[in-house]
Symmetry: C2
Subunit: 351 residues, 2 copies
């Protein structure tokens, strides 16, 4: 089945309204989940629907949050998400950061009492529409990463995303977990019945773990060994601890626990290139770097040199033409969800 | 030979004064080079002396720069280093960022027309003295990294450093190249006559390269494959391109070229935790995370779990007690430099 962006958004919105969210909030989340799916972030897209709804129904997420700024200076704010859906919290936070960056040149907005907000790149991408650069950091919602040399999973895959505007080229958008694989990718492999490559996870004896269904027994590996551990730690401290949000032992495994508020922390830093000089010249200089990299000499057997965000860009163009595919197993689970909520299915039918 | 911090600083200052730097500037650089050596960043410490002096003498670096702010908003500045030593430029930039963060909560200061500034962590560490958090990004001064799948070395090892204050624990200080090994480490291996581990570099056929004396034929490998390439790219765009500094093809190989200004770009982002709540509580929360990680269960054979910056901290304590060791080959080259400049040797003697 292929679905349009509007079908995805409307389906998600129907579900969120049914479990008590205001219609405007439900539409915002639906829009961002459709965006995630369209840019190819399927591990953080519509497949999270069942889980989101389950936690709202269980009381783990507040359907009617009072999202508000609790600390503020000229170039920063701390947003209390009141345990609402992370999409709502981080959309608000990003909007504040963009406004503050417009006057101050740069702004940093953190969140506390937030929740899972979809793929990291969604929020820095919002700054691109204003010709701005943005960096995003988040504490993941389950600890799968031990410190380097350790066995206790005290860290999450804490993602980093950076978006940089261009003039004619697709924007440069990096969106990466600080582990070799994000846990969402492990989940996608499990759902598709595929095995994982060696290097994604190890078991507690240090042996490679390739069956994604056994992922609960394993540890994710950080990129670059102790370097990835260091990145997960420092960006976790900035996105979590600095904001008074969960980090380390405080992190709630939202896969295993539907009722405890996660107190998720995130941070977005927005930079206005206009503060540094002519913003058009900046974007043109980024284009030059992009083109130099793309046109450079390739290793034998390599067909193309990709820029970060370029594959997402092409996936989005393709999805805008033909809709985005929904795998049969996912469609079935979404149909079951729709039927249990008594709403129209994503495919438009009823049981 | 073991030397004290003052001996290192004074030796470096003598050399810089002899090639035309004002005494106050020479002392600042000497202080920072001694600091680098004491924290164990020997690849970016006193071993760079010959190279720095050679470029100043050749006219590649301006001994009397007019370092000034060329763009400014409440929470940002762009500093033109006037092709002065990077240590001077980034010390100034960091001071500005700290002052702006004190009022705005966060500040971002970029540099252009700067030069190599020593180890990345020097500058975010300055924020620690003010109880602040800082992030530092820089474009390296020689391209050794191709894009993922490529052979053209269009990127440098573009380092990332992050410093986070603690209450009773050593500060958390991450300082890492986005490649598996920094080029400074390759140089150290070469100087010591050691071989490199497999995984640091490959040759143009994709085979492991382990002889550091052949490093000019090889390519550094990024951490996490395409992820490290992405990090080197985006932080290079932020530290270089955004500031109107060199990036990609524009980067001058300062090992091979003594005369062309490098137009090095760097960026420092300082965050004042006091803007987010009680700063002491923040530092105590960081302590808790640090202690939880250190005390966590270890893999068989692992003696200790290290926090980023902890080994540097211990090296500094040890160096403060007993001085820092200078390897015979390095001492010899520094003696030769001293003799050629007609200044007192590091060891205090004369030829």
């Amino acid at each position: 089945m292929h679905v349009t962006r509007d079908e995805l958004r409307d389906f998600a919105a129907r579900a969120f309204v049914r479990v008590g969210l205001p219609e405007s909030d439900a539409c915002i989340i639906g829009e961002l989940m459709a965006e995630a799916e369209f840019q190819g972030s399927e591990g953080h897209g519509i497949m999270r629907m069942n889980h989101y709804i389950r936690r709202i129904q269980a009381g783990g997420v507040n359907p009617k949050p009072n999202i508000r700024v609790v600390e503020e200076r000229a170039a920063m704010a701390l947003v209390d998400g009141d345990n609402g859906m992370g999409h709502l919290v981080m959309k608000r936070a990003t909007g504040i950061a963009i406004e503050k960056a417009r006057t101050c040149g740069v702004a940093w907005v953190g969140s506390q009492h937030s929740n899972h907000a979809g793929p990291a790149s969604l929020y820095p991408r919002m700054a691109l529409e204003h010709g701005m650069v943005a960096l995003y950091f988040a504490v993941g919602n389950a600890n799968h990463l031990p410190p380097w040399g350790g066995l206790d999973m005290l860290l999450s895959t804490n993602p980093i995303a950076v978006a940089i505007p261009t003039h004619e080229e697709p924007p440069v958008v990096l969106d990466m977990a600080t582990t070799v694989a994000a846990y969402g990718k492990v989940k996608t492999k499990a759902q598709r019945g595929e095995t994982m490559p060696v290097g994604w996870m190890i078991d507690r004896q240090g042996n490679p773990l390739t069956d994604p269904k056994r992922s609960a027994e394993g540890l994710l590996l950080p990129i670059g060994g102790y370097k990835g551990y260091g990145l997960a730690l420092v960006f976790g401290l900035l996105a979590g601890t600095l904001n008074g949000a969960a980090m380390g032992k405080d992190v709630i495994d939202f896969n295993a626990d539907d009722v405890t508020p996660t107190n998720t922390g995130q941070a977005i830093c927005v930079i206005d290139p206009a503060a540094f000089g002519d913003p058009l010249e900046f974007k043109k200089r980024v284009d030059v770097v992009v083109r130099d990299l793309r046109a450079s000499e390739r290793m034998p057997g390599v067909e193309r040199i990709w820029l970060p965000g370029e594959q997402s860009h092409l996936k989005k163009l393709e999805a805008q033409r033909n809709g985005t595919p929904i795998a049969p197993a996912l469609q079935k689970s979404l149909d079951t969800l729709a039927d249990s909520l008594g709403i129209l299915r994503l495919s438009g039918g009823t049981p």
